[in-house]
Every structure is written in structure tokens, then in C-alpha cells.
Amino acid sequence: MIKRGQSQRSRFLAMLLLADLGLGVFFGGLAVTSANATEGDDTVDVQPTSEPTPEPTPEPTPEQTAEPVVEHVSRTPIANADGSMTISWLDTVRDETAPNYSLFAGLEVTVSQVQDLTYQAVNVSWTGGVETSPQQLAANYLQIMQCWDDGSGAADPTNCQFGAATGATVSLLGSNAMTRSLGFEGEDPLQDYTGIFDISPPLGEFEHTYSVPFETAPSTRYPDGESTHDVELFFGPTSTNEISGARTTADGSGEISFEIQTAVEAPHLGCGAEQADGEIRQCWLVIVPRGEFTADNQNYQDGVNGRLGGSPLSQSNWDNRIEFPLGFRSVVSNCRIGAVETRTTGNEMVATAFGSWQSAMCAKSNVFGFSMIGDSESRRNIVSATAGAARLAFVDNPLSATEATGSTLTYAPAVKSALTIAFNINYTIKGGFPLEYKEGQQVTDMTLNPRLVAKLLTQSYQDDVPGGELLPSLSTNAVNLRLDPEFLELNPEFDQFVDSAEPVGLMVPIGNEDVFAQVWKWIKADANANAFLSGTADEWGMVVNTNYQTLDINNDSTINSFPKADLATYRESESIPEPGFGTFELRPYVADLHDGGIRAFRGDSGTKVFWDVQRTPAAFVSGGAQDLGRRFMLTITDLATAQRLGLSTAKLINPNGEAVEATTESINSAISEFVKSEASGVKVSTAALTKDESYPLATMTYAAVDVCRASIAELKSYSAFLEFISGKGQTIGNNVGEIPSGYAPLDKAQKAAVKRAVKVINIEVANPVCAEHIETTTTTTDVPVTTVTPDDDGTLVTEVATVPTVTFPVDPNSALRYSMMSALCFGIPMIAGGQTLIRKAKTL
């Protein structure tokens, strides 16, 4: 009995203890919470969210001003103030008795950019040369190639990407002039025909062949490089950037665009890659001038077909080279494939910039994926119920009030750029005309007004319709843009072009984007163009293609694509089956703006109108790219793409009648006139521009974030991303994370708008109000933001630390909370009831 009483007493004592313990935990918990709260506040003050990770600033790329130590150099080349470099042939001491000496003596070559190179085009121009033989490339031309630098101070022929070209230009050259082949032993008195240059005869044959092998730049996989006579292992006709023959005009000058390749496009050259010693590999641009005499002093007219023979890599020819040291940006990527990507979608105006940002962000372990699906699909996507849909979209126009119903959206300006009409056109001038001296050079100046663009977009030129020259409805229309009197009034130089110089239409992309709608608005706002679309003839009797008149574009407020509405088909002969080719073979769509730019650069529109009976089954095929030096390409593309590819862009006539080219100033001027939209803080383009300097097709692209449908993890990524693009991400340059020229950086007010959006997101992260986040907190915080690489959590963890963790729903320590709660529930009744019960027990 006593025993029992004692045991009961001790049980109650234990309960009392437990109650005390509960109280202790309760008060302790309160202490922790308040400590956390103050900590959080402190952090916000101390550590502003601008730079979440105290990472070391990346080492700036060592600026190697490579100074070639070529023997007998009389003047060391130095870069001009604008970043270009000019070298004269006589800057190197040359043999005055060589028969080609007088042909090369005046040659002076300029390369538009030689430092900070990335994958881009540079302009190579020259003066003081001798006119290239007409039609063929028989004599007097330049051969241009890119070579890797082995540290010897001069370019080496075995390091050059050359000898893989095929096609129209190559067929105009003399024997071996487009190859690495050295021909017969002794053909070049200075050439070594032994060792690596000697290819032993295969079994059963006797004759040795001689060729300059290609040696790859050393890389991780091949530390010593690889040497081969089979260059196809590394580069081929579609990937090489060599120019087998560039023409010099009658006045001795010439000009050509050259595609610079980095280690990403040409790993065998390794330009911009990190070498074993940590240095960034530099490269050479080599120009080998070809005169009238071969290596063994034979006149070109004595060669096969009366053309100059011999490889430019053969020693005597190679000795005549001019070489430019090329400095590259590092292409080293810190991003390891395999991480989980945070999804985004958007239009193409942002695509180039986003590519650079993506690389910078993933180096910070915040990996993004981008789906380029156009503005309207993107708008629908971010507010869709689809699981896994992106919640950040890059769009020019905001969601309409209807689309946005029920969604919490925030907008941040992302990029400013412009849509352009870019061209790659060479002067091809009629004999005896004043501009003949410019033959083969690139046209840099063109002006288009809204009506001319309307004509191009409505298949109103005869050449743009299958069998168009035979159609009565088009009989009063110009054959093509170049022959249109309205075009010639604005661009009189084109009057001197040969008749065969004609554009393959204006290339336009398939699909719809907000900026395409902007093109139509610009056209329709112009009285002449508007009347033209409605069927009014221009002053020269040209009328709109009736197929487009029926589209009633003037009254179609929703048009945001480029129709190809003419259904005509045509076949040249009865032997071709019905119906022949149609518009989609004659003027095919390009895949996107970038594709249009590339096609213009390469001179290949993808037109397929040649009937090839050799095929099974027979089909229409492409005639291939236009000849180098005889191109006439026009495309719609974005300014960044045009600039990277070295394409010139047309001046467009704005509402004030001014011809304006897309530049930072003209873009900013136009954007300053943008008008308010349905969404607060979002300004959209207008056709009613009033400033003289405003470019009509300037664009402002916003990042729209659906704050509530995005998960907390996504919001954190988006916030870090927007933070980045409001700062470093707006620098113009070629470094990772910078945006290339062709974009206009955001100004102070626009950057502030980005910061405001960041704040909105951060507030939601810190203190969620969206039902989605409150309900699913436990899951969203459980979602593995990143799984694969150990450094993946970096930025995000820091983000968590900067966010005040006072709010219950996002508090990861939910277990602690519940134990406090239980302690509370446990403790209070104990305090109240414990004493009474103990007393009662004692009475027993």
C-alpha cells in the first residue's frame, strides 16, 4: 500500500518534471525564434541581396597583345584605336627579285577586329592589290584562313584550317590552289618534300604523294595534338571558314566577311581554349596573296586551264603571307552538363543575350533552360496549369487583362534591341559604269521605306511568285526589288548593277512574334504603304499581289506573322510533273531570325527549284549557295545576330520621313516614345513615333514572372537571375554574361524597375501570400533544387540565408515548431493541474 502510494507519488513527480521540461522547451523555442528574427533583419541590412555569393571576381582574361617576332619584320603591327589592325605586305622584308613582288608591293590589309574575339564575323578589307582575272579565279586574288598559334611567334601551315572547301568558288581555281596537296616533288623549290610532307605509297603503288598535314592544337583529350593528312576528320566543306579565293576589284581594293571560329566550333584550332599552362590559346588570321606566277616562276597562263596552280600552304606561296595575331576571349565553360535546369520561355529577341546569361548563371550553379516558343505561346505557358511549365517568359507585350486574370504577375525589363532588315550584297556593276571599281565589295548602305518592305512581304515582285513574270496580275509590277524605280530613287547606286543581280526575296521566319506585328504596324501607319496594301498602285503602276489584298492586312489588327499567300505553281517544262514548284520551294520560310541571318551570311536561301531527275524519286533541289563576291541576300533578323555575322542593316524610314539605322541611340529614342500598356510598368511599341532619330522597329523585351504559380525554388532562381541582369548582365561585350553589341543596355530607371521586380519576388519568397506557396510549402522546400554537382546549391543556400526566416509557412524547422506547440499544450495543463493532482495524491 505504502509502496503503491510511493510509486504513484513518484509518477506524479515525473509528470511535474515533464511539465517543467515542456515549459523549458517552450521558452527556449521562443528565444530561438526571436533570435532568428533579429538575425534575419540584421542580414537584410548587412548583406544587400545584390551580390548573393561572396565569390571571387573572375580573373579578367589575360589580354595578350601578341607581338609576332617574324623575321625581317620592319614594322610591328599594332592595333588601331577602333580595335582594327592594318598590315602592309612590305612591313615584312620581301625578295625584290621575285616575279610576284610588284603585284603584292602595294597590298595593305585591314582586319576590323583582332582582340577579344569570340564566335563572330570580322571584316577583311584591302587596298593596293591587282584586279582579279574576270570570271575565273585564274590569278591575283587572296586566300584567307585561320590557324592556331603554337607559341613560335609565327603561323605554321600545318596549323591552318584550309583545304576542305568545295563548291562554286573552288571550281574557278587552278590546280591544287584550294588544297593542301603539294603536287609533284620539286614543284616548289623552297618546299620540303620529306618527313611529314611525304605520304608513302600504299601497297602496290609506286608514286609518293606530297601534302601539308594538319596538326590539331593540343587539347585535354590529345595533349600532344594529332597530325593527319585526312582533314575531314576535323573539318569539312560545311564547317571550314577558309576563303579559297577573294576577289580584288579594278581599283585594287577588296573586302570580305570572315567567320572567326572558337574552340567550340573548331576544337582542333582551340582558339580561346585554356591550354595546359592555363593561358588562353591565341590564333592567327593568315592571308596568302596569289599573283600571276607559281612557286617555280611559271606564268599562270601556262597552267592547267590557264589558271595559277599550287597550294597556298606550299612554302614559296606561304612566305608571301600576311598574318594577323588574333586575341580570343576565353571559351572555358564552368558548366557541367547534367544539372537540373530552371525553365524559361520567350521570344527570339532575347535569345542571344540569354545564351550569354545562361553561361554566366550556370557558372554560379544556377542553371537555366530556355524554350524559344514565341511571345503568345510564352504568355499562355507561364499561366497555364501544366505541371513543369516555365513561370518566367520573355515577351515584348504583357499578358492581356483576360489572360492575366487570376494570376499574380510581375514584369522586369530585360533587353532592348531592334528587328532589322539585314543584307549581304556585293557590288556587281555593269561594265563601264562609274562604280565598277567597287566590283565584288560589300554594299553597306541601303534605305527602305514602309512601302518597299510591304512589297517584299506581299510577294508583289514578279520574281517572288512562281512563274510570276508570266502572270497578268503582276505584269505592271517590278521584276524584283533592285529593278523597282522606287527602290532606285532611294538607293541610286543599284542602278549600275548588272541585270542578273537579284535578291532571292526577303527571307522571313515562320511562326509569330510580337515584333512581327510591330513590322506590320509600322507599314500600315505609313499612308503610301497602307494605300498599297489596299490595292492602290504606286507611282510606277505597281500593285499589291491580289492574294494579299484579300487578306485585308490593313484591317487585321492581330497579324503577327509573315504570310506567304500566293498559291501559284510553275514548271519550266512538260517533263516536270504537275504542279511544279510553289512558293514554299521558291521562297521558303527560314526557321527563325537567327537562321535567316546565317543563310544571308552564307548566301544560301534554301530555294529549291531545280528539278533533279537523278534523285529517287525525282525532286526539286537547291542550286547551292551564291558565289562568293556575287551575293544578293536580304533577310529579316535581329540586330544582335546581324552584327555578330557582320551583316549590314538597312536604314528604315520612320514616321518623320527620316532614314534611321538601328543603333543604341535610335533604339533608345524609340523606346522613350513607347506607350503604357494594360500591365502597369510595361511600355509597348507604337507606330506613332515623333522623334527624328527614332528607329521604327526598336524592341523592349520584358521578363514576365508568374509569382504564384512559380515554386519557391523557381522564384529564388528567377530572383537571382533578374538581379544579375539588372547589373553585370547589361554590360555590352563578348565575355560570358555580357550582352553582345546589337543590344542597348538598360538605363538607370529600367534597371530600377528590374530591382523592383526582384523585390516583389523576394518578398513572396520570404513571406508567401500566394495560396500555392502556403499550401505546398513543405513540398516546395523539399524539392531538390539541384542534385548532381556539389556546388549546385551555392547561390540558393546563400539566398536562404539572406531571407528573414520569421514566417512559419516557410520555416524549415517545422519539427521544432510542433514540439514547441506540444510542449505548450502539455505544459499549461500541467501547470494548472499538476499541483492539485499532487496534493490530491499526497492525501492518499
Binding site: L233, V332, A385, I510, S561, F584, S822
Partner: protein, 526 residues
């Protein structure tokens, strides 16, 4: 408090240090870009919209991948000829087409499933000045339209599928591919399997005996042939080209903003080729599992055509990458390393994009065997190819295809009968046809909260759960099972704690007095 704060601060500092260390070490492992070399491929334009997006995204990893969307036949031929590093095709080698056997390449290769999708019937039709966006077609009607049997849109058979539409008296203009195409092969195989007599009698009529499955559509007057997917979708998307209909991957309809026909399946529902409907459809596919077969991993689709699930889209299929398994000509182990890393990417992370683009992510069974194939590419970094690290959206713990499992049931108005849903389809999902005006907003309004967004015309009656409108498809359906994975994990983690706390509390409060009273009674009684 101060100590606590110091502790927190020092923890933060060490975290920062740790991070710095990681970033620095990340820099020293560097030169990753140099490990990849450019690779190029050609083939299927059906798959091109997905491949182009992947190419764009792997640039951030220093990878340069080229692709020419020239059609499946060209892709197979180029791979065979050795001019490309990889090909992409909807159909395998070895099939007989128009009497010619498509011989296997001499270089050893494997098929790797690349992306799934639905071959959609995109069309351009208006009635009384309004665009029709909710057309429905049964399989035999589609076949008859593409074989010259049905020539007018107001044909009684089309009208029977579309009780809610007033169809115009306009010629049906089938738009087919002029090039050798995998889409054509998929479409003709379906017609050949399901509507053999219709298909073969058409082939007879146009002078091609026994077409069977063919990559080259035999044309007849009144038909238009256009090059590749861009050509056919671009052609139909011209406002002026009214009356046209073509077969093309769903993504092209999204891209051009045009509707697609809902196709009648074997459960008598008209369905759209959305990601989830394709995923359900493909559950019926039989995959060749014989590793010794030259057709290993290729698909046998009759189970898809006859799938009885009300959600199944009958013309669902997937395309293959054709990848070399030996070093040959210009295909080196270095290129193989890049190709396998790219394949690993698109089978896993890349599939996250599939639905947004208008495709359907590959299910786990195909990804698993696909990854096994990837390891056979010379130079493949097998250590990184691991299904457990594969972030594919269809994966679930149970091994079921999440997408197929959560696929919403079709709306009752999609059942064959007198009713017809009015919401738009494909790229025209924001535009409804006929019915009341408020339905237009229905499809664009988010429906997760289900706040009565259904217009009167929709007639959602199924289940009692919230109504969900898929913005991509415009389909509003009442969800019996809202994805509840989130709530269930929430219960497991915290609610048990709460429950047990409550029980303990009740016990603590109630038991002692009872015990005391009981003990007291015992004492007294003794």
C-alpha cells in the same frame, strides 16, 4: 543570445568559405568546353522543334550541335553515306518502300528513342467568317479525306463527326509532304493498318501498287505537296489557304497558331495530341525488346491505334536517333563523347521541355533502354550515364508514367454523340468556335482554383472535384484526382506529429485523474 548570434554568423562565414572553395575548384577543373567537339546530324523535321531547343540549351555547356531538318529519309541516307554523325528518323532502316528495300547501313549503329509526340491534323477552315477551331474527325473520315473519297468539307461524314458545326461547302485540300518523310510514313502506316482497304484502293487508283507504309505520299489532283514540316504547316497557316488540312507534329500547330482536329479513338472519344494524351496512347506501344534484332527498340504501334483508354491519342509515336557504335571515317571517339553527352541530356533534362514545345516526354522504360544504347557509342562517358540521375518529368517512384497517370479524362462533350465541345485546339486554343461568347475566356483562364470558369456550353458534369482547364488544350475537365502527391507527403511528415501530440495530451490530461480515482478506490476497498 550573443553567443547564439556569433554561432550563426560563424556558420554563415564558413558556408561562404565553402562556397568560395567550390567556385574556385570549379574553375580549376575547367576547360570542359575543350572536351566537346562539334557534331552534326540531319533528318526528321517532325522532331526538329525539340532538337533545335536542345541544341540551343547545351551551348551553355560548351557544346556545339548542328542539325539539318531535311526529313527522315534524307537523315537515314546521310547517316548511311557517312556525311553526318547522327541521323534522326521516325522509321527504322530495312523497310520496303515503293518496292525498294531501305538497306541497313554498313556502319554499326543503334536506335535511341529521342522524343514522343502526336502526328496532328492541322487545318484551316472558317464558317460564316469565323475560324473553326474545334473540328473532330474519326479515323475513316481522315483516311477518306486524304485518299480523295471525301472532297468537300460539308460532306455528311464530316458533319456526322461534328454535330455542333455548320461546315462550309468548300473543297478539302489535303496538304502532304513532297519529300521523303517520317511523318508520311507514320501516317500511312496508320491508314494501312486501320483502314487497309481504303488506303490500298487509293494506291491502286493513283497507280502505286500496294503502298503499305511509305515515306513518299502518292499524290492525286486536288492535293498539294510541300517540302518538310515547315512547308506543310506554313502552307496551311496561310489565311488564304482555306480548306487545307495536313498531318504534322503537334508543335508546328502551336508554333503557327492553328488548330488541330481531335481524332476519334477506340473508346469513342475525340482527343487532341496533348503531351498527356500521347503518353497514354503510347502505353499501347509494343517495343522490340530483342537485343539481337536489327529493329531493337523500334515500335510496333497497332496497340496505340487500338488503345481503348478514353484519353489515348491514336497517332502517337516516337522518333529515333540513329547513332554509330564504332569509330569510322570522321566519327571519332571524341565526337562519340559529345554525342553521348548530348543524348544523355535530351533523354533526361531535355524531356522537361517536351510538353511546352508540343511533344510528349519519353517514358521511363524508353529512357532506360535508350541510356543503355547511349553507352554503346564510342567514347561515351558511362560514369555519367545513370538513370538514377535522370531528371525526366515522367518518372515516378512507382515506375508509372506520371504524365499518363495524371492525364485528365476527356470532357463528356468529346464523346461521340450529339454534343461537341467548343474550345479551340492546338495553337488556336484561345479561340473557341460557336457556342456562347464567354467560352473564349474559359480556355485562357487558369483553372487550378476552379472558380466557376466553365461556360454554360461546356457541360462539365463529371466527378465532384474542382474543374481544371488546360490552357494548352482549352479542355476543361473536372478532376477526380488532383495531383495529391504534395499533400500526402505533407501528412506523413507533420500531421502524424500533430496527431500523436494530441493523443499524448489527451492521455496526459485524462489518465492521471482516472488513475488516481481508481487507485483511491482500491485503497479504500482494501
Amino acid at each position: 543570445m550573443n553567443i547564439r548570434r556569433t554561432l550563426v554568423k560563424s556558420a554563415r562565414a564558413s558556408l561562404a568559405l565553402l562556397l568560395t572553395g567550390i567556385i574556385v575548384s570549379g574553375g580549376s577543373t575547367a576547360a570542359l568546353a575543350a572536351d566537346y567537339v562539334p557534331i552534326s546530324g540531319a533528318g526528321s523535321s517532325w522532331s526538329a522543334n525539340a532538337i533545335d531547343q536542345w541544341r540551343r540549351n547545351v551551348k551553355q555547356y560548351g557544346m556545339s550541335v548542328n542539325y539539318a531538318s531535311t526529313g527522315s529519309v534524307d537523315g537515314r541516307n546521310q547517316f548511311k553515306g557517312g556525311t553526318v554523325d547522327y541521323g534522326v528518323s521516325e522509321t527504322p532502316y530495312g523497310l520496303t518502300d515503293n518496292g525498294v528495300v531501305d538497306a541497313l547501313p554498313t556502319r554499326p549503329f543503334v536506335y535511341i528513342p529521342i522524343v514522343a509526340g502526336g502526328t496532328a491534323f492541322m487545318y484551316n477552315l472558317t464558317s460564316g467568317g469565323n475560324r473553326i477551331t474545334n473540328l473532330r474527325l474519326s479515323g475513316d473520315v481522315v483516311t477518306k479525306m486524304f485518299t480523295g473519297v471525301i472532297t468537300k468539307w460539308n460532306d455528311a461524314l464530316i458533319a456526322a463527326d461534328n454535330p455542333g458545326l455548320t461546315l462550309p461547302d468548300r473543297a478539302v485540300v489535303p496538304v502532304v509532304r513532297s519529300d521523303g518523310s517520317g511523318s508520311t510514313a507514320q501516317f500511312t502506316l496508320w491508314m494501312d493498318t486501320k483502314y487497309n482497304s481504303l488506303w490500298e484502293s487509293y494506291c491502286d487508283k493513283v497507280g502505286r501498287n500496294e503502298c503499305g507504309q511509305t515515306s513518299f505520299f502518292p499524290t492525286t489532283s486536288g492535293m498539294v505537296a510541300q517540302p518538310n514540316s515547315q512547308g506543310v504547316s506554313g502552307y496551311v497557316a496561310q489565311t488564304a489557304n482555306e480548306g487545307t488540312i495536313t498531318y504534322v507534329e503537334y508543335s508546328y500547330a502551336l508554333k503557327t497558331g492553328f488548330p488541330v482536329a481531335k481524332v476519334l479513338n477506340d473508346a469513342n472519344y475525340y482527343v487532341e495530341p496533348t503531351a498527356s494524351n500521347v503518353a497514354v496512347g503510347l502505353l499501347g506501344a509494343v517495343i522490340n525488346q530483342d537485343e539481337t534484332s536489327s529493329m531493337y527498340l523500334t515500335q510496333e504501334l497497332s496497340g496505340v491505334y487500338n488503345n481503348k483508354d478514353p484519353r489515348a491519342y491514336p497517332l502517337s509515336s516516337y522518333s529515333y536517333m540513329i547513332a554509330p557504335t564504332t569509330e569510322q571515317a570522321s566519327f571519332t571517339a571524341t565526337k562519340g563523347a559529345t554525342l553521348s553527352a548530348f543524348a544523355n541530356y535530351f533523354l533526361c533534362e531535355g524531356q522537361q521541355q517536351a510538353e511546352v514545345l508540343g511533344y510528349s516526354p519519353l517514358p521511363v522504360n524508353l529512357v532506360r533502354v535508350g541510356l543503355e544504347q547511349v553507352t554503346k557509342i564510342p567514347g561515351a562517358d558511362t560514369a555519367t550515364i545513370n538513370i538514377s540521375q535522370c531528371n525526366n518529368p515522367t518518372f515516378s517512384a512507382s515506375g508509372e508514367n506520371t504524365l499518363a497517370k495524371n492525364a485528365p479524362m476527356p470532357d463528356p462533350c468529346d464523346k461521340k454523340g450529339v454534343e461537341q465541345c467548343t474550345e479551340g485546339t492546338g495553337g488556336a486554343s484561345a479561340t473557341s468556335t460557336g457556342g456562347t461568347t464567354e467560352t473564349g475566356t474559359t480556355s485562357t483562364t487558369d483553372g487550378t482554383t476552379g472558380t466557376g470558369t466553365t461556360g454554360g456550353a461546356l457541360g462539365v458534369t463529371m466527378g465532384t472535384g474542382p474543374t481544371q482547364c488546360d490552357v494548352d488544350t482549352g479542355i476543361c475537365s473536372s478532376i477526380k484526382a488532383v495531383p495529391v502527391a504534395t499533400t500526402s507527403t505533407g501528412w506523413a511528415a507533420t500531421n502524424w506529429v500533430i496527431l500523436s501530440v494530441i493523443i499524448i495530451l489527451v492521455l496526459v490530461v485524462v489518465v492521471p485523474p482516472v488513475m488516481v480515482t481508481y487507485a483511491a478506490r482500491k485503497v479504500r476497498s482494501s
